[in-house]
């Protein structure tokens, strides 16, 4: 059978020769190795100042998307909740009233949309299930907190910033989403459905 990798090394079981038996020379060899590492480039990343770039397929906290005019895309169809294997998503639908067209994109919208981040396993199935391009996984993760309650994220926490009031934040978040879409072509296929 061939070895899976070429890195396997045979263990040398020959009896020790005199130089190895007095042990001192081997100590000096070992100390040479540690000294070599002493002058090597360090691998530490200084975390709060310096951050490692996330992988483009990283699955972090969910984001509820808006369209270009700042209207929420979610129609509370419940497909994400059905797809969710951890049953972390709950929502309540509501009918759009006249005069709310600038807030919601279609006639029905989610009045309440909650994800329990303690249940969520960040599998990304909600993202794949959504026919309306409304939910995406982002590149952040849930920060630590003191209470369980605070891990139930509502719409305030999940919605992407409004392009009308916070254009810069929206552009930043949007850019991340677009990058993600470009990397996962199967996510974009739902866009044609609208």
């Amino acid at each position: 059978m061939d070895a899976l990798t070429q890195r396997a090394k045979l263990v040398d079981r020959r009896p020790m020769n005199w130089l190895e038996k007095i042990y001192l020379w081997e100590i000096f060899k070992g100390m040479g190795i540690t000294l070599k590492h002493f002058f090597k480039k360090k691998v530490t990343i200084q975390y709060p100042e310096e951050k490692r770039p996330f992988s483009p397929v990283f699955r972090g906290l969910q984001v509820l998307n808006r369209d270009e005019e700042g209207r929420e895309r979610c129609t509370a169809c419940g497909l994400c909740a059905v797809a969710c294997p951890a049953e972390a998503i709950t929502m309540e639908g509501a009918e759009r009233l006249p005069g709310e067209e600038h807030l919601y994109r279609e006639e029905k919208y989610a009045a309440k949309y909650e994800i329990n981040m303690l249940r969520c396993i960040f599998c990304g199935l909600c993202e794949e299930a959504c026919p309306k391009d409304a939910i995406y996984l982002s590149e952040t993760f849930a920060p630590a907190n003191y209470s369980r309650k605070s891990f139930i994220y509502g719409k305030d926490d999940l919605l992407i910033p409004d392009p009308a009031t916070q254009p810069e934040e929206y552009a930043a978040a949007k850019g991340l989403l677009d990058k993600r879409k470009n990397h996962n072509p199967d996510l974009t296929k739902t866009n044609e459905l609208k």
Partner: protein, 350 residues
């Protein structure tokens, strides 16, 4: 010595010197903890502490503060007095050794000759051995007073280790003493300054043996069995918390500093700066050059201590005893015999 304390200027001078020596050893030990963590980090491709202050230089203070604010726990069935005495003894014996180290030559300061050695007694090396042999008590009393069988066992382990390696240490020094013919550290240093070579050239094997024994006496890796956390259920300071634990850990670093200074003095010429003729320099300049030389050598040795710690794995207890009794003691005896023969046949004029 204290008998001459009628001379108040002398007493004051010695008091100031003692205060300086103790402060310096404390500061050096403090920064040795920082250096230890930095060296460990660098050898493991990390950066080590770098958050408290610039380059993490305030880290020892932060560590000390943390230890001070930890809860003080004294086991309910322990002997309270001895429990507190243990770390104090460890600290005391660590400090006491510094009394006979010559930190520099004699200097004229304000009209009087100031000797940069707390006590130039003619049995300096024996004094060091005396204090080192007492270092066992801090460990044993602390371990016994904890009323915990694991602490007690670790204390016994540590004590028997210390006693075993003291023997080899003493034997390795006897060969050196045959060459110097004096037990005073001052005389040994001055001989090295006047002679062409440092003692390490005449006694390479003795130096190696003494160095290994110093590692064992300081409970430094690979001989740090008394405080092996994972495999031996920690050491004699298992029941200690707060600053009493800090004392035990800190005394280890003071011991390391002092023993590095002693190695530098005995084998590496003490305050003798290589390639510089001290006799041509003025008093203060010679003093500064000497201090720089001594501390430079000491710091290099401390670095080697740390380097060894972060390279070698710990000995098993039987390996440790084998090395001490069957390896180092016969080697030291051999070294002694060879040196004795050479001294007898070549240096008859002594």
């Amino acid at each position: 010595m204290t008998l001459l304390a009628f001379d108040w200027g002398f007493a004051l001078e010695k008091l100031v010197l003692i205060a300086i020596v103790i402060t310096v050893s404390l500061v050096v030990a403090m920064y040795a903890t920082y250096a230890e963590r930095k060296v460990a980090g660098f050898m493991q491709d990390r950066l080590g502490p770098n958050r408290a202050g610039p380059f993490g230089l305030l880290q020892p203070l932060a560590d000390g503060l943390k230890l001070f604010f930890k809860e003080e726990i004294i086991p309910s069935n322990s002997n309270k007095f001895l429990f507190i005495l243990g770390p104090c003894l460890a600290m005391l014996t660590a400090m006491m050794t510094s009394a006979v180290i010559p930190w520099g030559g004699k200097v004229e300061l304000g009209g009087r000759m100031v000797d940069l050695q707390v006590a130039d007694i003619n049995i300096g090396i024996l004094y060091i051995f005396g204090v080192v042999s007492l270092g066992v008590y801090g460990m044993m009393i602390g371990g016994w007073a904890s009323n915990n069988k694991y602490s007690l066992m670790a204390a016994l382990r540590g004590a028997s280790q210390a006693i075993s390696y003291e023997l080899a240490m003493g034997l390795s020094l006897i060969a050196l003493l045959m060459l110097t013919g004096s037990l005073s550290l001052r005389t040994i240093t001055e001989q090295q300054i006047q002679g062409n070579w440092w003692n390490i050239v005449y006694q390479p094997l003795g130096f190696l043996l003494f160095f290994i024994c110093a590692l064992a006496e300081c409970n430094r890796a690979p001989f740090d069995l008394p405080e092996a956390e994972s495999e031996l259920n920690m050491g004699y300071h298992q029941e200690y918390s707060s600053m009493k634990l800090g004392f035990f850990l800190f005394s280890e670093y003071i011991n390391m500093f002092i023993s590095c200074t002693i190695i530098a003095t005995l084998f590496l010429g003490g305050y003798d700066m290589p390639f510089v003729d001290e006799a041509k320099l003025s008093g203060i300049a010679a003093l500064i050059v000497g201090l720089v030389a001594l501390f430079g050598k000491t710091f290099i040795l401390i670095f080697i201590f740390m380097w060894i710690r972060w390279t070698l794995p710990r000995f098993r207890y039987d390996q440790l005893m084998n090395l001490g009794w069957k390896g180092l003691i016969p080697l030291a005896l051999f070294n002694m015999v060879i040196t004795g023969a050479i001294v007898l046949f070549t240096m008859k004029a002594h």
